[in-house]
């Protein structure tokens, strides 16, 4: 009973410290991610999703709700799990409010990331419907990365990047860095509520 109480206290402390630390350690600094608004021209490419279905990318990214895009790969060690944890938290929070969120991850390791690998990755993160993971030929993936000003010659040198498309005017909010789920939700809602 005593150890259980201690564990509960520890969990509470971790949660509190987790909230307070980002505030205190960066108070006075600028935020830990970089935000800009961009215009991108989506290339005319057909990619393949986790179910093996062909997807016209520009069509997928249009629509009357925001869409969030990131670049990850199935066996990534450090950055992608953090980005994907952000995706799943955003999905949970938005769907809890009875809204739908459209998430699109695009692999930067098309040699390895077959639809099967993509599907298992989404399963591992307990992704719900609405999170698409796309692969394609290296040429097409390179075109997409360049279109988003996110080209990297090798997957090991990638970086954390989220982009949210506004359905209102087709602009993209580009978010470079690692956000808390509160910050990510706030950015998403800013785009969703844009008038």
């Amino acid at each position: 009973m005593k150890s259980l109480l201690k564990l509960c206290l520890l969990s509470l402390l971790v949660a509190l410290v987790a909230v307070i630390l980002p505030i205190t350690s960066h108070a006075g600094e600028s935020k830990k991610y970089k935000r800009s608004v961009e215009k991108y021209t989506i290339p005319d490419v057909v990619l393949t999703n986790q179910d093996g279905k062909k997807v016209q990318l520009d069509t997928l990214l249009q629509g009357d709700t925001p869409v969030v895009v990131d670049f990850i790969y199935g066996t990534c060690t450090t950055i992608c799990p953090v980005l994907s944890a952000g995706f799943i938290n955003l999905q949970s929070k938005v769907t809890a409010a009875n809204q739908t969120v459209r998430l699109v991850s695009i692999t930067i390791d098309p040699e390895n990331d077959t639809p099967k690998v993509l599907k298992e990755y989404l399963k591992r993160y307990r992704a719900k419907a609405g999170w698409e993971f796309l692969t394609g030929s290296r040429e097409d993936i390179t075109r997409v990365m360049k279109a988003f000003n996110a080209y990297i010659p090798d997957k090991m040198s990638h970086y954390p990047l989220n982009m949210i498309r506004s359905p209102k005017d087709g602009t993209w909010v580009r978010l470079f860095g690692i956000m808390s789920s509160r910050e990510f939700l706030e950015e998403y809602q800013n785009v969703a509520l844009k008038k």
């Binding site: 971790v14 410290v17 970089k34 935000r35 950055i79 938290n89 098309p110 990638h158 470079f176």
Partner: protein, 574 residues
Amino acid sequence: MKNDFSTTKVISTRTACAVLLMLLCAAVSLASVPPAVDLPQSEVLRLGERMYREGILPSGVSMPAFIRGDVEIDSSAFSCSSCHLRGGLGSFEGGVVTPPTNGKKLYQPYRRPPSLDDSHDQAGRYVYAKTVVERPAYTRESLANAMRFGADPAGQIFNDVMPRYPLSDRDMSILIGYLESFSSAPSPGASASEFRFATVISDDVSPEDRQALLVPLQKFIDQKNQQLAMYEDFIKFGYKPTIDMQYAFSRASLDIWELKGAPESWPGQLAAYNAARPVFAILSGISNLDWRPIHDFCEAERLPCLYPITDLPVISETAWYTFYFNKGYAQEGEATARFLHQVKKLTPQIPILQIVQDSPVGMALANGFNKSWHEQERQAVTTLTLTAAQLRDKTTLAALIKKHKPGVLLLWTDAALVPKLPKLSKQLPASALLFVSSGYLGKKTKNIAEALRSRIYISYPYRLTPFVGSKDGGFDAKVPLVMGAESLGDRRIVSRSTTMLRQATLRGLNLLYDNLYRDHLLDIMSTQMDLIVRDYERFSFGPGQRYASKGCYIIQLGPGANPALLPKSEWVIL
């Protein structure tokens, strides 16, 4: 600024710091780690390893964790070893330096290697990639505190990508017990002055192939020893070596582990070799038989086996210790299935017949096809396994084709069938598609009759675009190399071995420094950048990826006695 932390406007920095200090004081008092748990050491290691590698608590549930303040993560998807890697020496990925987590390093002061992201850059990458540069040694208590609250013994806050783990004292003690024990003593076969390697050769290998393997291997060993001699000479004349140089040169030796007789006896032979003179890793190796006995031995002994020459590798998504060039024959079967899946005119009503020669090669091709075909959620095809004698018989195959009337015929047979293809194809409708394996047909692939070449599709798992480099796989001669029909049936033993020794293995060994652990070598080799190599369009890596080349063309032959190889697919078929 509109998107700054809104909370900072509510809580002043001073107040927050005071709250934080109080919380940390309380945390430290709570975070004391009790003496080792009442479990056998072997059980602590087993449970701790599961926590570290799989993110599973001893109770069987996921380790709770938070990143970036409030992002809850599932540790079974994102475990300690995701970033710190299996060997525990950390990684450098996406600009973030992840430090070591083995006890040997944790309980000493640490200064991490410099990172490009230590300086501000225009993209602002340093903002997220910034990690602790230097820290004092941990104790068990401060280590528990670090994992729970994300601060090192000097109070420096970790990068946001490091999760915070609210573990109980018992679970924390188990995890720390594991961290203290792993990657603590050099792996067998390695010391500060020497690496011992072996290669494996089974007695079915021809003298020519054996020689083709041993020449580049011995050259590799000789070069390492020559470099050491030059380094020692360098020191003798009073030059002071850099830290890199101190670790880059060491003596190397190569043993040849000859395997004789039935494969069932191989594990015993391998165990005897390894017991008599343990090695750090097996460099390459060659066999025409199933590689499984050697693969299984290496898994059991946690012994790296680096790029053996085999077309019959073990296909596994979880095996760790053997790096293969590709999936061999299975990869040809998989590519065929993916190509066929994309044929638009292929309706479910069109019968597909798979003829499999009753041999390890035929079975590997069929298994690769079936696995990939199943992944495409296609109905199983009709598969008939025939002996070489049945395939030679004039009437057997004809009768089967007459009976099944295939619109697609997969022929996983050896080259004895090539002369019979014209007659056989006459039995098929004009629209029928035929598939064969260049690996199984070998040099005789080019003997396929010209009249049939537009109907027959061939799996070909090697490079087709020009390669700028030397014939043996190095980069010293800048002459474009184009593969033609002469490459059919070529096992590329010299070029493949040279490529991987020079590029992947040597690089891995040079980056070990004083961390002489087998798992660390595999970690380094797994996290290297992609390679453009002579025999394959691309090699790609990643933790857990064990088949470096993922591609395989489907080709047809051009006209003439020395036909061009005409790609009919992408290198990687989705």
